[in-house]
């Protein structure tokens, strides 16, 4: 009974694919199957996961956000340059500045989409170019090297909450990023499940007009969504900075389509209303494993773009074929418009 129900979930298939894929990599290169590599994967995918959660919420509401990476890099670069020029060395302050910038940039998206009802793709395409252009023109184009970073950031990147010693006495551990990601996921899950706004986000994605007539404040909910994804972009920006201990105002921008792809692979409908957090996490896991481990399999990095594209094309085709068959089974199917 339970098993058949599991078979109807997109997540189960995705999980299966990840398991098979991991098994294949392990056969080719046993290095993959180790706690250390797992911890490393968790640490390096932390920023992407948080960005994916932001994209997920936007997709769930029936929109799309391609500006989230531009916001993240603006947050990161402005926060770190402010900190360096002020001479302070304070981790909470960096997060605070970054999140504040994230909220303000997100609010611009929110006003354009919520108040003026502009189409989300075009709006965020525009703001992405606007934010990034402003950053490069008025804040700076120089990258910040590890040597110039405040100590607290570098420490934060290396900090662990659990450390295990290797055979030779050196240590590796579970990064402090992991609990941050966990809290973010939990808070988002809570908002989506237990608050009026969360219910509204689902409802908006299902049918925006129906949501309005039910009494949801559509303008406010849309404003909230883009501010929230701005906050997430702010957090992700600092995690990314602490991870690579280097800040280049041209990083991150251009990865937004991969993040959207990860979320969509996780089963979130791009037309909104349907999707789960578990699916999002699994989608990010699949894309991250694919990107990080092609080299472990002995394939050069040129294959990366090709494989990610292939996975997206196959993934979305399968999901939509499934949807088509399901709607054909039902007598009053609605999925066969095209």
């Amino acid at each position: 009974m339970k098993l058949t129900r599991l078979l109807h979930h997109n997540e189960s298939y995705l999980f299966l694919i990840i398991v098979v894929f991991s098994a294949v990599i392990t056969v080719v290169n046993p290095v993959f199957f180790s706690l250390e590599n797992l911890f490393d994967l968790l640490r390096s995918s932390a920023g992407t996961t948080i960005l994916a959660v932001g994209v997920f919420i936007v997709l769930l509401s029936g929109g799309i956000d391609v500006s989230i990476t531009a916001i993240a890099i603006c947050c990161q670069y402005i926060a770190i340059t402010t900190l360096i020029s002020s001479g302070l060395d304070n981790l909470p302050l960096v997060f605070l500045i970054s999140i504040a910038i994230g909220i303000s940039l997100g609010a611009i998206n929110g006003v354009l989409i919520g108040v003026f009802k502009l189409p989300t793709l075009i709006t965020t395409l525009g703001t992405s170019s606007l934010f990034h252009g402003l950053l490069l023109e008025f804040v700076g184009t120089r990258s910040i090297n590890t040597g110039d970073l405040p100590e607290s950031i570098k420490e934060f990147g290396k900090a662990t909450i659990l450390s295990i010693s290797r055979g030779d006495g050196t240590q590796y551990g579970l990064s402090v990023f992991v609990p941050i990601v966990a809290v973010t996921l939990l808070v988002t899950w809570g908002i989506l499940r237990y608050t009026m706004v969360g219910r509204g986000i689902h409802s908006l994605g299902g049918n925006i007009e129906a949501a309005r007539r039910t009494g949801y404040n559509v303008t406010f909910i849309q404003f909230f969504i883009y501010c929230y994804s701005g906050i997430l972009a702010g957090i992700a920006g600092i995690l990314h900075l602490s991870l690579i201990r280097y800040s280049n105002p041209n990083y991150l921008v251009g990865t937004e389509l991969n993040i959207i792809a990860a979320v969509v692979l996780g089963g979130t409908r791009i037309t909104g209303g349907r999707g789960t957090m578990t699916g999002t996490i699994l989608g990010v896991a699949l894309i991250t494993i694919l990107q990080k481990n092609l080299v472990l399999m002995g394939l050069s990095s040129y294959w990366q773009e090709f494989f990610v594209g292939l996975i997206i094309v196959l993934g979305v085709s399968i999901t939509h074929l499934q949807g088509k068959f399901e709607s054909r089974k039902r007598p009053t199917g609605d999925g066969s418009v095209a």
Partner: protein
Amino acid sequence: MKVNIIKEQLGTVIREHPKNLILLMLLVLILILLTVAIPDRFLTRVNLESMAFQLPEFGLLALAMMLAMITGGIDLSVVSIANLAGVVAAKILTSEALASSGLSIPLAVVVVFILSAVCGLLNGTLIAVIGVPAILATLGSQGLLLGIAILLTKGHGISGFPDSFMVVGGGSLLGIPIPFLLFLSMAAVVGMILSRTRQGFCMYMVGTNPVVARFSGISNRRVIINTYLMTAILAGLASLIMISRVNSIRPGYGAAYLLQAILVVVLGGVDPKGGFGSVPGVVMGLFILQLTRSGLNILSFSPFFKKFIWGSALLGIMLLNVLVHRYGEFRRAKAVAKSQVLGEEDEQVSQRTR
């Protein structure tokens, strides 16, 4: 009294073609502004010629984007299609074995069109047969096709094509650059398809309301596949001009064209939701973008500032469209309310003035 008549007639013109008129005024305004701001270097023969060489590549991509948007879709893969086609054409053009036979140029052209048609069929099948939303399908094929292009070249660029091939992107006929002539003829062809053929009419119908179109006996599937086929072939032609103009190709070249193509199409009055848009509007949008780009180049603004300008222009145009639309609705609502209140009185007044 006469002023009133003029006002009324102007009103009808604006009401019937509001966007194109606004565009024309914007075009003239920018032209005047730039000519006044940079008198000695803007309206010169050299600058006009260089603009006519720069415009066609992304002009063709914008026409392609317009076709997809009219049917309510979007094609994020146009630049990738152009990249892949360009890389394959470059491989053929630089191949040693073919160079002596003299067949390399016709072969490259034929292969580019076949290859781009295949890419278009892939997009069309994903969207129309499998039912993947256009944005997702083309997002996937964008990565896939670019990935293939990168695999073919291992990430390097290819350059050094036969001299006779340079005519496509660098030659002139009667003083007019050949790529510009190619662009104009394609714009005319696309315009004819949209306004004079069954396919064009069906594209507007599908874009306005796919369900109604299907129940009116239109084969949405065939219309959409044809649309993405045309889109891809335009991208293929763009790739030929692109590689011939710069005499090299690198996977990822022209990634910035994607945003600019969408910007131009939206600027040109195409509704991203589908069903509306015309070639004259998009061509005017293209001229506006090209004039601005050239002006910013002469004034030596940084590429970052241009990025900022494109982003804000896109948002500004969208906002303006919304505000004009809302104002129109507000006026209509007021007019309706007025005619309801003063129904009889209004009729008497209008009789007297007649």
